[in-house]
């Protein structure tokens, strides 16, 4: 993935974050999306360890030892930030107060199934808060490279790994495309600059519905 393609993917995902939302960003690529959210957009970032209104990351020299986000980054408060316990934090998630979560994926299936927490026999760290985020955010989007480092598709017909949540993903942002989970199957919705439909189909492990009309580029 070229730097350029990565940046376009992040910028495209950022466009789905709109004013007034409460949003949870997973560790890794999802957090990177923040750089492309307009600085004046009124959005509340939630962190599952007990923060609403997460502010910018601080370097170690200026860090508050008591203020990390769920990924362990030292963050900062904003005017209007609040702290709360872990039960309240997941009450926000489970009661539907989270408008959007952006998550990473090991595998995401055409039916919206998501696997992003365990690779049996290799990585068994526990799910943390992933299961509840994936199952209960009003909108769940995945941001991931279209293929893994071996070139294998991360978008598959059926997940082979244990699920984080079934049928939870509504949209997938990759360096090649935006795909939406629909009742009819996975639909190719947008194309990255310089990428062809044929390339996306070749890199995807599941059937894709490709509209006849020209696709928007990002």
């Amino acid at each position: 993935m070229s730097l350029n393609a990565r940046e376009r993917m992040l910028r495209r995902a950022a466009r789905d974050i709109s004013a007034g939302m409460t949003v949870n960003l997973g560790i890794g690529l999802p957090t990177q999306v923040l750089k492309y959210v307009p600085a004046d957009l009124a959005v509340c970032l939630h962190s599952e360890n007990g923060i609403a209104g997460v502010g910018p990351v601080r370097d170690r020299a200026h860090a508050d030892r008591n203020l990390i986000d769920a990924g362990g980054a030292y963050v900062s408060p904003l005017p209007g930030t609040s702290y709360f316990d872990s039960a309240v934090s997941f009450a926000i998630v489970r009661s539907g107060r989270l408008d959007l979560t952006l998550l990473g994926a090991f595998e995401v299936a055409a039916n919206g199934d998501l696997a992003n927490w365990i690779i049996p026999g290799r990585l068994t760290p526990g799910a943390g808060g992933a299961i509840e985020l994936a199952q209960k955010a009003r909108k769940v989007a995945v941001i991931t490279t279209h293929t893994d480092k071996h070139g294998c598709p991360k978008i598959v017909a059926r997940c082979s790994l244990p699920l984080t949540a079934p049928g939870c993903v509504q949209r997938i942002f990759t360096d090649m495309a935006v795909c939406d989970v629909t009742p009819d199957g996975l639909r190719l919705t947008e194309l990255a600059e310089g990428v062809t439909v044929a390339q996306v189909i070749a890199a995807t492990g599941a059937p894709l519905i490709v509209p006849q009309t020209p696709l928007p580029r990002f």
Partner: protein, 230 residues
């Protein structure tokens, strides 16, 4: 990144409530009862309401205004002993009343607010309070199933709010307010003081902003919020 501004005028916020809505009200006695929001609901006159509140206030206050105005179909509560009108209307079949033990009422509301379906407790076993409730085994013990109690709207009274909806309550006026704020589809908070974000320190927030949808600054407080002269 600024946090969203949720300030709103009272008439607009209350106008979103339709006839037949399920409405939770804060308050234990006078403290924490959102009298101004209730008064606006009386002015607008929505009918057939289900009211969920710890108690029915007293004559001439809060819930009593709604009862007097014939807006209430059903009351889910722990105690109505200080409101003769509520007792009379219940006995005359003009409203239906569901009594719930106070702490179970609090937990059923919180349960909905935490996005759960129900909980199992042993409260009331051996009394009429547990009659008709499904039994659930947990390990080698048997309890009764209490169902989550949510609502369409929560009307909350806060001492202080910021424009994002972070709330602070004063003393025993906290009571059910933080719980109902979690449990409704739409939470409307009236506040004695509304400040800019940052006006409540992050460690001092009682109800976090994400639970609150509209924030309404109260003008001078009407007398009903004051010390009751009995």
């Amino acid at each position: 990144m600024p946090l969203p501004d949720k300030t709103c005028d009272m008439a607009t916020a209350i106008a979103r409530i339709p006839d037949g809505a399920r409405i939770m009200l804060g308050g234990f006695g006078v403290p924490g009862t959102p009298f101004c929001l209730i008064r606006e609901l009386v002015r607008q006159g929505q009918r057939g309401l289900t009211i969920i509140k710890n108690d029915a206030n007293e004559t001439g206050m809060g819930v009593d205004w709604l009862l007097e105005n014939g807006q209430v179909a059903r009351l889910i509560t722990s105690h109505i002993g200080l409101n003769p009108r509520a007792m009379q209307m219940m006995n005359a079949g003009q409203i239906s009343v569901e009594f719930v033990p106070q702490g179970i009422l609090a937990e059923r509301i919180r349960c909905a607010g935490a996005g759960m379906m129900g909980f199992v407790s042993d409260i009331g076993i051996g009394t009429v309070m547990a009659e008709g409730k499904p039994s659930v085994n947990v390990g080698d013990r048997s309890g009764t199933l209490e169902t989550a109690l949510g609502a369409d709207f929560a009307l909350v009274h806060a001492a202080r709010a910021d424009t994002f909806g972070n709330l602070r309550f004063a003393a025993s006026a906290r009571n059910f307010n933080p719980l109902i704020a979690m449990a409704a589809t739409t939470t409307i908070a009236e506040a004695e003081t509304v400040v800019a974000p940052g006006g409540i320190a992050p460690d001092d927030v009682h109800t976090p902003g994400p639970f609150v949808d509209q924030v309404i600054a109260l003008p001078e407080l009407p007398e009903v919020y004051g010390v009751v002269e009995r």
